[in-house]
């Protein structure tokens, strides 16, 4: 069914439009009326608020201000308090003038001629009033305010004074006339005249005050008395010429006085006796009255106007309200009527159309609705019919489409389910991967935290890419963040080049590059060992070169930006400073050990040679006593062997191979015992100071050798202080702990030590000298002044005594050498140096067993013993010696070399022999020993040591000491 063509005319629309327009018209008319009424009302209210009210208020304020000003002015006149003047000024400035300004600002005040005139008149009156009041306040406190008083003070008083002066002169001249009773009467009359003039003067002054008229009569009486008395006096024949002349002057002045007095009285009695009051009464008050009357009139007028405006406003309000109500009612009626009319015309077709729509929705409508009218509703009906037909057709198509759509949905659903399953699997796998990755990262983080090394990544351009581990010691990198910085920004240029070269080598060879280097860090110079390995990943970063987008965008999308990939290496750097130091110390120790072994070996062999030479020379010497020249030559040879023996002695001391007889020693006693010797050695320019700990523990050391060592140190100190200075000897107990390892020699085991410090204020040593200080034959002294074996001997002695030695020195700041010797807990038995009972060194035929592996030496020993008066037996080794001891019970002393081949050396032999034969004396001899020292405390007291090479006399002395020692001592 097709819709009929729509006509251009739309009756229903016109009907609705007219209906609405009529209602709107009624509303507009009503609104217009309401607006007119409201504006009228508004104008009245504004008038009330802005004109009539303020006018009335201003008028009343003006009245108040005028009254205030008058009251203040009167207060000023009568009381003279300056605060009234302030009040007067306030009245004008804060009340009258603002009120006048407000009045002038009221348009209604100027709108009418009469009001304008009133305004101008009021303004002029107020100006006059203010001026008048100003003059009044100005003259109130001036002397001229009361003309009578002014005249009195200025003219009458001087005149009265003149009168008194004339009378005084007259009285004085009369007083000088003596004796005559008539003259006394004249004198009395003069006095009366004086009194009368004074009375008149006082009376006149009284007339100036309040109630002055009461005193006027008294003044006139006094004046009359003065005149009568003056007449009496003038007629007196007793008056002298001079007196008469005075009286004439008095008469003239009296006339002046009277004239002035009359003028005073006249002024006092006039209205103008007080000019301020007169001005106030005659001028100011009338002006104020007029101004106030005008202000009252203005206020009244404003009040009346105000009431009228209020009444008019009330009327306008009522009219407006009623008009609005009426219009509302009319509009309601018209709207109801028109609405009912239109509803009937529109509602019925629409209702039938609604029913048809419901049927259509329910699918029951199969036929078109008849068109009842040729208006918009008819048109709507036709459209509805067209819609119905189209819906039927669309429903058919929709059913077909639904069937096809359901089929496609089923297919798509199956595909999605398959994809979903695949995605689920991928998610599970990815989660597992993520988990593994997190675990790996955690392990890596823990590892990075755990390792003490520096681990970082540096790219091929030398840029720190990542800091994976900074270690606990940040001294190598400092506190400055280095990530993103170049090697050249962190390190010196040569070091930066060195590092970059390592990185490049690692990247080129793809092999780990190991390097050691020394860096200057905040904590000093540190050694590091780095291992640089190439990374399999490359770092990408945006290139500064941009790519132009095909469409002209300068930057383009991110995927088109150019990136540069940089290869990098991971570097693990380890602080090996301690290891390096340890290596250095080890090398030094090994060097010293090697030198020691070398020198020790040489010294040992040389010692044996010397022993043979010395022994034979001595024997030869004995044979040459009868040949002086040869004897002297033999003596020279002996002295040379002595020097050689001393040299080897020192070398052995350095190489820790000298035989030491360690004893419990109190270093304090030893030092104190040497003080005198040290003073003589040092000379007068060097002062010795000691700081010795009172409770210093004992140490185990060979005291004789230690004295030599200390003396060597003192001599070195002296040579370091050619200009004089101070040598300080300090002893203290010290405990080396594990934590002190960094500050002490590494080979020094922790434990208790006795420390002796020898400090001088000398020239000090350079670092190069320090490194070689203990080397034998190293000396900084001039050639011939030092052997270079002093410190070496000290070093060897201390080391052989299980102690340690340190040197602290800087050029120009002196040197401190510290000797650390092991402490012994208990006070060991001190061994006193045995002395021979007498000077004899000859034997008493005692049997001596000589044990010596070197046949030449043994032969010399046997020969020397025989020469000394002993009966010598001999053995080449320990086993033979034990057998000889076993077979020969009378042996009084075992004289054995310490160093012997075989399992048992001299010391062990002595131990065993004394074990088997208690009381057996033992004399050990050696120029070289493997023993660090021989602790005499472990042996009996019947042991002595004789150092090779020895002289025959030395042997005899030692033997006698041992053999003469009491059994109890043994």
């Amino acid at each position: 069914m097709t819709a009929s063509p729509v006509k251009n005319s739309r009756p229903l629309r016109r009907q609705l439009l007219l209906s609405h327009l009529s209602v709107a018209l009624v509303g507009l008319i009503m609104l217009g009326i309401a607006l007119i009424a409201t504006y009228d009302l508004r104008a009245k209210v504004i008038g009330l608020a802005s004109e009539s009210g303020p006018m009335a208020q201003a008028s009343f304020q003006l009245l108040t201000g005028i009254r205030h000003s008058l009251a203040s002015l009167r207060g000023w006149i009568t009381l003279g308090d300056p605060r009234f003047l302030d009040g007067w000024r306030e009245a004008w400035q804060e009340e009258i003038q603002p009120a006048l300004d407000r009045l002038k600002n009221c348009p209604r005040f100027h709108a009418q001629d009469c009001a304008a005139r009133s305004s101008r008149e009021l303004q002029a009156l107020l100006a006059d009033l203010r001026e008048s009041q100003w003059w009044v306040q100005d003259i109130v406190r001036t002397p001229g305010n009361e003309p009578a008083r002014l005249l009195y003070n200025r003219d009458v008083e001087p005149s009265a004074a003149n009168l008194h002066a004339l009378l005084a002169a007259l009285f004085q001249s009369e007083k000088e006339q003596q004796g005559d009773p008539e003259r006394k009467a004249l004198l009395a009359q003069t006095a009366e005249l004086q009194d009368a003039v004074s009375t008149a003067r006082l009376s006149l002054r009284e007339t100036l005050g309040t109630g002055g008229s009461d005193h006027e009569h008294g003044f006139r009486e006094s004046l009359e008395f003065v005149r009568s008395r003056l007449g009496t006096l003038a007629e007196s024949p007793l008056l002298a010429d001079e007196q008469r002349s005075l009286l004439l002057l008095f008469q003239d002045e009296l006339e002046v006085f009277v004239t002035l007095a009359r003028e005073v009285i006249q002024l006092r009695q006039s209205d103008g006796w007080n000019i301020a009051l007169r001005t106030m009464v005659q001028e100011t008050d009338p002006l104020a009255d007029r101004a106030m009357a005008l202000a009252v009139a203005t206020a009244t007028q404003a009040q009346t106007r105000l009431e009228q405006e209020i009444l008019a406003a009330q009327t306008a309000t009522a009219i407006t309200a009623w008009s609005l109500l009426l219009m509302i009612a009319l509009m309601l009626v018209a709207a109801c009527f028109l609405s009912r009319l239109q509803a009937k015309a529109i509602a019925l077709p629409i209702t039938s159309l609604a029913e048809a729509t419901q049927q259509l929705a329910a699918g029951r409508l199969r036929a078109d609705i008849p068109v009842s009218a040729d208006n918009e509703i008819g048109e709507l009906t036709r459209s509805f019919n067209t819609l119905r037909a189209a819906m039927e057709e669309a429903q058919e198509k929709s059913r077909e489409t639904n069937i096809l759509l359901e089929k496609r949905v089923r297919e798509r659903t199956m595909q999605l389910e398959a994809i979903n399953r695949s995605l689920s699997r991928e998610i599970v796998e990815r989660n597992q991967t993520d988990h593994a990755l997190r675990e790996s990262e955690a392990r890596l983080r823990a590892m990075a935290r755990a390792i003490p090394d520096l681990v970082f990544v540096v790219d091929e351009e030398g840029c720190y890419r990542e800091i994976l581990a900074a270690g606990q010691d940040r001294t190598a990198v400092g506190n400055t963040p280095i990530r993103g910085k170049l090697l050249s920004e962190i390190h010196a240029p040569d070091m930066a080049r060195f590092f970059l070269d390592i990185i490049h080598r690692a990247l080129q060879t793809r092999q780990i590059q190991v390097a050691e280097y020394e860096l200057v860090t905040a904590s000093g110079r540190r050694w590091f060992e780095s291992r640089s390995a190439p990374l399999d990943i490359r770092f990408a970063e945006p290139s500064p070169i941009t790519t132009l987008h095909p469409q002209g965008d300068l930057f383009g999308p991110p995927e088109l930006r150019r990136f540069t990939a940089k290869s990098a290496a991971i570097v693990v750097a380890r602080d090996i400073t301690q290891r390096k130091h340890a290596e250095t110390r080890l090398r030094q120790a090994q060097k010293m050990q090697a030198i020691g072994q070398l020198t020790g070996g040489i010294a040992h062999d040389f010692n044996n040679l010397l022993a043979i030479i010395m022994g034979n020379l001595e024997l030869l010497n004995e044979q040459l006593t009868t040949q002086p020249e040869l004897y002297e030559m033999a003596q020279q040879a002996l002295r040379a062997t002595d020097r050689g023996a001393k040299l080897t002695q020192r070398l052995l001391a350095f190489s820790r191979r000298q035989p030491l007889l360690a004893q419990a020693t109190d270093l304090n006693k030893l030092i104190l015992g040497m003080l005198e010797l040290m003073r003589r050695t040092l000379g007068a320019n060097i002062r010795i100071e000691t700081a010795l700990t009172s409770d210093l523990d004992q140490t185990l050391v060979d005291p004789a050798q230690f004295e030599n060592a200390l003396l060597n140190l003192v001599i070195n100190a002296r040579d370091a202080m050619p200009q004089g200075g101070r040598l300080t000897l300090t002893t203290t107990n010290t405990l080396i702990e594990e934590k002190d390892g960094a500050a002490t020699p590494t080979e020094m085991p922790p434990g208790p030590y006795v420390m002796l410090a020898v400090t001088d204020t000398g020239v000090g040593m350079t670092s190069e000298s320090l490194e070689r200080a203990f080397e034998p034959f190293f000396t900084t002294k001039e050639t011939g002044k030092g052997s270079g074996l002093g410190l070496s001997m000290v070093y060897g002695l201390v080391k052989q005594s299980n102690g340690h030695i340190t040197i602290q020195s800087e050029p120009g700041r002196g040197t401190t050498i510290r000797l650390y010797l092991p402490r012994i807990a208990q006070s060991a038995r001190a061994v006193t140096e045995p002395r021979a009972a007498d000077g004899s060194i000859q034997g008493r035929d005692e049997t001596i067993l000589v044990v010596e592996d070197d046949a030449e030496v043994r032969r010399f020993a046997v020969s020397a013993l025989r020469g000394l008066g002993y009966k010598p037996l001999q053995a080449a080794d320990a086993a033979t010696a034990l057998r000889v001891l076993e077979t020969t019970p009378r042996i009084a002393l075992l004289f054995t070399d310490i160093v012997m081949p075989g399992e048992m050396d001299g010391v062990r032999l002595a131990t065993e022999a004394q074990r088997r034969y208690p009381g057996l004396r033992v004399l050990l001899t050696s120029g070289y020993t493997e023993h660090a020292s021989i602790d005499q405390a472990e042996l009996t007291a019947a042991i002595e040591i004789l150092t090779k090479p020895y002289r025959k006399a030395d042997l005899g002395r030692k033997l006698r000491i041992l053999l003469d020692r009491d059994e109890s001592q043994s």
Binding site: R120, E121, Q123, A124, A127, D128, R130, E131, W134, W135, D138, I139, T142, P143, G144, N145, P147, L150, R154, D252, E253, V256, I275, T279
Partner: protein, 318 residues
Amino acid sequence: MVFGLLVAGFIALAHGAETSRPLLPDAETDAMLAAEINAFSRDLERLRRFMGAPRANDLDIGIHDLMPRDLYFQTLTLWEQTDRLSFEILRTRAKPLPTPTGAIGPQDALRRLQDAHEHVRHIMRQLQITDIGGSVEGDGMATLDRFNALLNLNRQLNLLLERHISPSDVYQQVTLAIGYSARLLARYPDAIRIPEEPPFEPDKLPRDVYVRLSECLQGIVRIFDRLGLAVLKIDTRQIDLDRLQPGDVYLIATLIVSQLNFLHTHLGITQPPPQPIYPGLKFPAHTYQRAAILQAQLNQLERFLTPGQAMAPSPASP
């Protein structure tokens, strides 16, 4: 109040008290005036010698080309001082003289001078000074113009008085001038007739007052010029201010009053200014302070005036 009568004379002049006087040609009057000044000067010098009073130094206060009214007011001052001298010496006082009405001419000044001269002659006779009217040495008046000659006579008379012209007298004159100015300002509704007094400034000398009053006088000259009225000429640049005495300040104050009085009469203002009264002891600083009010008034007057137009009385003016 020393010169209260002078003030009253000013005011009476403004009121226009009636008097009859013969009219003489101006040239003849001027010659007579010069002769009278000389005669007065000689007698005054004789009297000065008799009294042993110091001689006043001539001082040119820089005011010239004066109008007859200015001469008249100087002769009026002269008369007041001779009357005061008469009272101080003879204890007698003359009755106030009638004040001329209308425009003041040289005849009025001559008459007032003759009256003052008669005062002096009377005193001389009473003091039995015989050579009245004779020749006296040191007659320097002839070299000066009339006005300055009268000024110097006034200065000399002041030295003969027991009570000299004081700052209080100047104060009184300035107050009178304020009254005149207030009356003139009453013609303008928006005018502040008597402005606020400025703060008191101590340590002022007569020269300070003179400077301020001369500024006022210059203001008056400008007002007269705007109104097209003839007025005196003032040039104070050559004045030695350090030689100024209160009497000199008084003279310029009276000049101000005379100008304002003339303006008052010229504009037909009938209401007289308030009569100033003796203000008591005043210092130059007080007068200096009060003169500032006058200066503010004159500034207002000058501002209200339209150049080339006479001041039209406003309906509200008295």
